[in-house]
């Protein structure tokens, strides 16, 4: 929470007297004397407005022949970047170079200020300050301060470079850096360049000091040595490149020897991202990650993956896009974290899609795919699969409804390379027919609810799906898995993802959604219910159902008031009225950092386990400066707390310190590759943040700490 007394940074606002035309110099003074139209002297409340900025002084002198301006007597200089009070000022009117002596300055747009023996301002070079002090703390409470022999701020470079920097905390010099760059604006700089200090029982005390190297306008590197008292020195480097049509990033982390690592080998993590345009239609993208051992992330942490992740992508793809035709060739592989049975990869996978409207309402679509699956082991099947799916579709749509009719043929060939004794067939051909009719109608009415007039919608939907049957037990499982049946999934028209199993189907899906929209179309209430009615059971024995109806799927979103929001999703199996899955979340949100959320999740069976989990997350300002964040997750099934986190932040105008302590399931892999379910770790977090300089985004807010809160970015090829 921002302190009330923190002075807001001054914003650049030059006085209104517009210069008639650029090169002009406009001077106001009580007394003016001009000699031979070359030497002009001004005195008494002098005000000079020029392209370089706006100067106020007691006395000023302009020499038109050598184009210089000199002024003295409590000078105040103002331009778009900085406001300076000083004793004297010299300005070269031709080159625009300006120099102020014994100054006190205030940056504009952000809270940086301080003193400097001299300040030189130049349109190209930017700002150069000599023997300078710099802080973002308000007048009189300089809790921290940087003193440097020189400080340069180049305009287009968004960077400040300081030399012989001494760092003062509360007036006490804390450390010295000969050369030090810090971000003035957030554009290009993602992480903070200020040191990051934290302590945890995993690494001991950790001190990371990033150095930014601006190699060229479109290449830069950040090298961050990280010293960990319990483990040693880890070197984290990030190299980024950006050309007109290609951009990418390489991250390398290396830890030569780790004192606490059970095996005496070096540990590393690498990540390579690339995205490029080869031509208008051809694009290339790559995401390749790898690490030295399964516990790397659990022990050392990582900016891109969290300790709960099970795999990392290793993909390389070339794509061709044009209006009717798309083609993509991809290698899709994975680095599996932990000891899991063979994981199939598609090396390679070629896809060709073609779309062509045949008439105003009739469309033709052709999807084809050729892929080779193998998992690097010779005692398991590998296969080459070619799949074709021509579809005729008739989409009809108008204001109140939609009717989509589709007919497709699904033809798949397999060439399977089998270990001896496998029950599968080497050559398989499967031909299936599929018909689908989907319809939706939108009804509306005006009603008056909760004291305000609302629009209520009623949107019934139905879908009939027929797929023919062919035995598929001669086919291995490469990229196929059952799909989660949430409300949207009911209307997907496929029970499995991947192509190795296409279940025969003859069922009708019925669903209805009702919404309440207020005057400006904001959704206040939304309830959806849906269920599939199977007219006959699937002939794929291993997936046969013992019920002629799917679980009833329900979803609810309800904004009870401006502060309270309730959300819930439920899947109730109709045969035994047992809950397959349910979750309920209640949010109370007063403001961005004043919120409480209670959530409960239940899944009857997921990969053989039952999930029954209660969670509470809260963030609450205690006072003007103190802010508390808490998070607590309890496994009701196992009757234990699987994660608890509490954090306190003290924030003053120009700095903030965050303390946090976290206890969580360690999910560390033991030598046999298994994970214990009893091992817990605790981590204490201490982070010091300098406010007003560098990007705020980089210091993760306390709320993100802890596994549950943290949002991990995906790399999307867009």
């Amino acid at each position: 929470a921002q302190q009330a007394e923190c002075p807001a940074p001054l914003m650049p606002q030059l006085p209104q007297t517009e210069l008639t035309n650029p090169g002009d110099i406009h001077v106001k003074a009580a007394r003016t004397q001009i000699q031979q139209d070359t030497l002009a002297q001004f005195s008494g409340n002098v005000e000079i407005i020029s392209e370089q900025g706006h100067i106020q002084a007691q006395r000023a002198q302009i020499n038109k022949t050598d184009k210089t301006l000199h002024a003295d007597g409590n000078i105040r200089f103002l331009d778009q970047q900085i406001q300076v009070n000083s004793e004297k000022i010299d300005l070269n009117l031709a080159s625009g170079q300006l120099r102020l002596d014994s100054t006190e300055y205030q940056m504009l747009g952000f809270a940086g200020r301080g003193r400097a023996d001299s300040i030189e301002v130049d349109n190209q070079e930017g700002l150069a300050l000599k023997d300078v002090s710099f802080t973002t703390c308000p007048e009189g409470s300089e809790d921290w301060q940087i003193r440097a022999s020189s400080l340069e701020l180049t305009p287009e470079d968004n960077w400040g470079t300081a030399r012989n920097t001494r760092f003062y905390l509360g007036g006490v010099p804390v450390f010295y850096l000969p050369y030090f760059k810090f971000p003035v604006t957030d554009e290009r700089q993602t992480g903070l360049l200020f040191p990051k200090m934290s302590a945890s029982d995993k690494v001991g005390v950790s001190y990371e000091q990033p150095f930014y190297w601006n190699i060229a306008p479109n290449y830069d590197a950040t090298i961050s040595p990280r010293l960990m008292t319990d483990r040693g020195l880890q070197l984290k480097t990030e190299f980024r490149y950006l050309t007109e049509s290609q951009r990418g990033q390489v991250d390398l982390e290396y830890l030569g020897s780790d004192r606490r690592h059970d095996v005496d080998e070096s540990r590393y993590f690498y990540r390579f991202l690339h995205q490029g345009k080869l031509s208008d239609n051809w694009q290339i993208s790559a995401e390749i990650n790898g690490l030295s051992d399964d516990n790397y992330i659990v022990d050392l942490g990582n900016d891109y993956f969290n300790r709960g992740d099970t795999h990392m992508y290793q993909t390389l793809s070339v794509d061709y896009y044009s209006e009717p035709l798309d083609f993509s060739a991809e290698i899709r592989d994975f680095e599996i974290i932990g000891d899991h049975p063979s994981a199939y990869r598609a090396v390679p996978e070629l896809k060709l899609n073609y779309r062509q409207p045949l008439s105003e309402h009739l469309n033709f679509r052709f999807r084809s795919e050729l892929a080779h699956f193998e998992d690097g082991r010779d005692d398991t099947p590998s296969a080459t699969r070619f799949h074709m799916m021509p579809t005729l579709s008739l989409p009809l749509q108008n204001a109140w409804g939609e009717l989509l009719t589709e007919a497709s043929v699904l033809q798949t060939w397999y060439k399977q390379d089998l270990p001896d004794g496998s029950g599968l067939q080497e050559d398989v051909s499967r031909t299936l027919g599929q018909g689908r009719i989907y319809g939706a109608i939108n009804f509306e009415r005006e009603t008056e609810l909760f004291g305000s007039d609302m629009t209520q919608t009623l949107e019934p939907k139905f879908q009939y799906l027929y797929t023919s049957y062919e035995s598929q037990d001669g086919i291995g499982l490469y990229d196929t898995n059952r799909l989660l049946n949430d409300y949207t999934g009911l209307f997907r028209g496929q029970e499995f993802v991947g192509l190795d199993r296409i279940s025969d189907s003859n069922h009708l899906t019925v669903g209805v959604t009702t919404r309440l929209l207020d005057k400006n179309h904001q959704e206040r209430f939304k309830l959806s219910l849906g269920q599939i009615f199977y007219f006959n059971n699937t002939k794929l024995e291993e997936y046969s159902r013992d019920d002629d109806r799917s679980a009833l799927a329900a979803e609810l979103d309800w904004r009870l008031s401006s502060k309270w929001v309730a959300r819930s999703a439920l899947q109730l199996s109709s045969s035994n009225q047992k809950v397959e899955r349910s979750n309920l979340t209640l949010d109370y949100q007063m403001s961005a950092d004043k919120l409480v959320q209670i959530s409960h999740r239940y899944v009857r069976d997921i990969s053989g386990e039952e999930i029954n989990q209660l969670g509470v997350t809260a963030s609450w300002p205690l006072s003007q400066n103190w802010h508390w964040v808490g998070r607590w997750y309890k496994d009701m099934h196992g009757k234990r707390t699987i994660e608890s986190f509490t954090g306190l932040q003290y924030e003053s105008c120009c700095w903030a310190v965050q303390f946090g302590s976290m206890r969580y399931l360690s999910n560390r892999f033991d030598a046999a590759g298994g994970q214990s379910t009893e091992e817990f770790d605790t981590t204490v977090l201490l982070e010091f943040v300098f406010k007003g300089v560098g990007s705020k985004k980089s210091s993760r807010t306390l709320l993100d700490e802890g596994l549950f809160g943290y949002r991990q970015p995906y790399f999307l090829n867009n």
């Binding site: 694009q283 099970t310 932990g338 994981a343 939108n442 009804f443 991947g498 979750n583 899944v603 995906y714």
Partner: protein, 147 residues
């Protein structure tokens, strides 16, 4: 009970031509939006026109936040957060920035990594169609409020 078929024309009659702009024309979201627009019989222009609407789509962003853990501490369920930001430039008006986030649940399974990556792409395509429809709904609301 007062229900009647939804009367207001969904975009079709008020808006006939839209230009969809984005950094990468072939990115999945702009393509999904153009397909949906054609579905609503709206002509997609190849370049911006003064008297017509222009939609600028920022790159889509997908994040995952965690919902539940297995007893070993490994991730069981994720929530996929799909962020969409776009600008609407109605003729004669300055651009309005709109954004929304769609959420879907996604189960992880370390024993079927390839199938799960397929499922992620499937959910992502559904999110893109859902986002395209929502952009069109918001666009038709904006054009309705116009005189």
């Amino acid at each position: 009970c007062g229900f009647h078929l939804r009367g207001t024309g969904l975009l079709g009659d008020k808006v006939t031509k839209v230009h969809v702009a984005s950094d990468n024309q072939h990115a999945p979201l702009p393509r999904a939006l153009k397909t949906s627009l054609k579905g609503y019989k709206v002509q997609v222009l190849s370049s911006p026109q003064e008297e017509d609407i222009t939609l600028y789509l920022y790159p889509e962003k997908l994040e995952r936040s965690l919902l539940s853990l297995f007893s070993t501490g490994q991730v069981a369920e994720y929530e996929l957060n799909y962020h969409v930001r776009f600008e609407v430039m109605l003729p004669g008006q300055d651009a309005q920035l709109l954004e929304f986030t769609l959420n879907r649940e996604y189960q992880d399974d370390p024993n079927a990594v390839l199938a799960k990556s397929r499922e992620l792409n499937l959910i992502l395509d559904e999110l893109r169609r859902q986002a395209a429809d929502r952009i069109i709904r918001q666009l038709s609301q904006l054009t309705e409020q116009q005189p």
